[in-house]
């Protein structure tokens, strides 16, 4: 086998090669085995390359839908007829169409995206503040703590792709208003292979972190930390669906502190436009009195209503 591998990998010296090729001529079974191995190693390369291409294309913008090649005038005539009918029925006393729902007034958003204030985020009670005094670090669940600039920096909501339409603008405003994410989260134990990623994430370098995680994924077995970090990077880059895919693979749901993952899932649903699942997630969080992100979830629900 060693000789076959050496031959296939073109690692033999000229003498070794000549001797081996002479042996191949004498031994058809060996020649067949060499062909098999050569093909197998080429298949390994193709399989890995296919994965790489799939990964690259995954983030390619999808094809724009083409307008069907039908004549446009029938649609125009139909629209005109509908407009005339609408006007006619309105004059005849038909009930007016329901009024458009007034837009939800969003609170002004600080462009620098400060973390929620104590009042907004449900900050620690006097008892928790006492804990802060004794331990020297913020007490209580992470989401309800007074943001400490030395401990972590609040991260602004990602920019939605394709923003421009009124729907996108409204969603972006909603995201800006409810977004609450921190790095590093309490409770996340980052092991040695992830140190560099950890540093990059602390600098808010999500794309570089993601690229580094991709490399790590090829070199080490996947684990919950890898899934969490990849999901988190994607979340901060505005990739809700992809983030959910990775969060869904995490076995230890308390990996990054109680409830953080559930909160991030809610944000990911919101990013991906799945309002139903986002509402359900936030409602579940709100219904849990001990949940660290209960107040953020309530606030998000209010905003969504």
């Amino acid at each position: 086998m060693n000789n076959i591998e050496k031959y296939v990998a073109d690692e033999m010296t000229a003498e070794e090669r000549a001797a081996f090729e002479a042996e191949l001529e004498r031994n058809p079974a060996l020649a067949e085995e060499v062909n098999f191995m050569r093909q197998l190693t080429e298949d390994i390369e193709m399989a890995a390359l296919a994965e790489r291409v799939k990964e690259a294309l995954h983030e390619l913008p999808p094809a724009r839908p083409k307008w069907p090649k039908y004549p446009w005038w029938p649609a125009l005539v139909l629209a005109g007829l509908l407009a005339v009918a609408l006007l006619y029925f309105q004059k005849e006393g038909a009930p007016p169409p329901p009024e458009a729902i007034p837009p939800v007034e969003m609170p002004p958003v600080d462009p620098l995206k400060q973390a929620p204030t104590k009042a907004e985020a449900g900050q620690p009670s006097s008892q928790e503040t006492a804990e802060e005094k004794t331990t020297g670090r913020p007490g209580g669940p992470i989401a309800q703590q007074q943001p400490d600039e030395n401990a972590y920096t609040p991260i602004p909501a990602p920019q939605l792709r394709g923003s421009g339409s009124s729907t996108d603008t409204a969603r972006q405003a909603l995201l800006d208003a409810v977004w609450y994410s921190v790095y590093p989260p309490e409770g996340l134990q980052v092991s040695e292979p992830f140190r560099q990623v950890d540093e990059l994430l602390q600098q808010g370098e999500f794309s570089k972190s993601y690229a580094r995680l991709q490399l790590l994924e090829r070199k080490m077995p996947t684990n919950d930390t890898l899934f969490f970090l990849k999901g988190y990077c994607l979340l901060e880059r505005g990739e809700g669906d992809e983030a959910l895919r990775y969060f869904g693979q995490i076995k230890n749901q308390n990996l990054a502190g109680t409830g953080l993952l559930e909160w991030y899932r809610g944000l990911a649903f919101l990013l991906s436009g799945d309002d139903g699942s986002a509402k359900k997630t936030f409602a579940d969080i709100s219904a849990s009195p001990a949940h660290a992100f209960r107040r953020q979830a309530k606030r998000a629900l209010t905003m969504m209503e």
């Binding site: 591998e5 390994i44 390369e45 994965e51 990739e239």
Partner: protein, 207 residues
């Protein structure tokens, strides 16, 4: 905060004027290394044309995306095997040629005659039938690799995909194996195991 802002090919392709020879050479070299951001740049460049070719061949949206995937994969394979060498033109031209051949091949299976390849300078070394057979086998091997375990997958990919030298793998501590001998021994075991499972999976005839 989108991927395209931060993960694109480092050197921007010159706008308005044709890319320089140096740019194309660097681009080609990065494709050979299967650099993901470079693959994405190539994909973005050829995607509209490949989708148009697919549409003209009567393929649906899903088939069209598969064809884009195949055209890029075949280009990378040809670069890595040396059947497509840098001759001063952009790799996108080769990819489009492959796409046209693939489309003609797909269309041929639906219609008895096609004029899709008329006046098309398609890469002469690319045979869609062979490519599709190889792809099918590679898919099976990918499944088998994942069953072998991460350790094996890693040592095999470092050698046969990354083309890393054993000394590099050991010195850069890319695997838990501290010596070249232990790395080789592990890889030999893994390759044997893969060959065995491949035969057991009944794909011997395909090799």
């Amino acid at each position: 905060m989108t991927i395209f802002k931060t993960m694109t090919f480092r050197e921007k392709e010159p706008q308005g004027s044709p890319p320089s020879e140096d740019f194309k050479k660097a681009f080609f070299a990065r494709l050979e290394q299967a650099d993901i951001s470079t693959i994405r740049v190539l994909a973005a460049k050829v995607a509209p044309d490949v989708r148009r070719i697919a549409r003209e061949a009567g393929l649906n949206g899903q088939d069209s995306e598969e064809m884009l995937n195949d055209a890029i994969l075949a280009t990378l394979l040809a670069i890595r095997k040396g059947t497509f060498q840098f001759m001063g033109f952009h790799p996108a031209a080769y990819t489009l040629g492959v796409a046209k051949k693939l489309a003609a091949n797909r269309a041929r299976s639906k219609k008895p005659q096609t004029e899709l390849l008329e006046n098309v300078a398609a890469p002469s070394d690319f045979d869609p039938e062979i490519y599709l057979k190889n792809k099918e086998r590679a898919y099976i091997v990918k499944e088998l690799l994942s069953r072998l375990g991460e350790d094996c997958r890693e040592v095999l990919l470092l050698k046969y995909f990354e083309h890393k030298k054993d000394r590099e793998v050991v010195s850069e501590k890319l695997t838990p194996y501290a010596t070249v001998a232990s790395l080789k021994s592990k890889r030999e075991q893994c390759l044997k195991k893969l060959a065995k499972t491949a035969r057991e999976a009944g794909i011997k005839a395909a090799f």
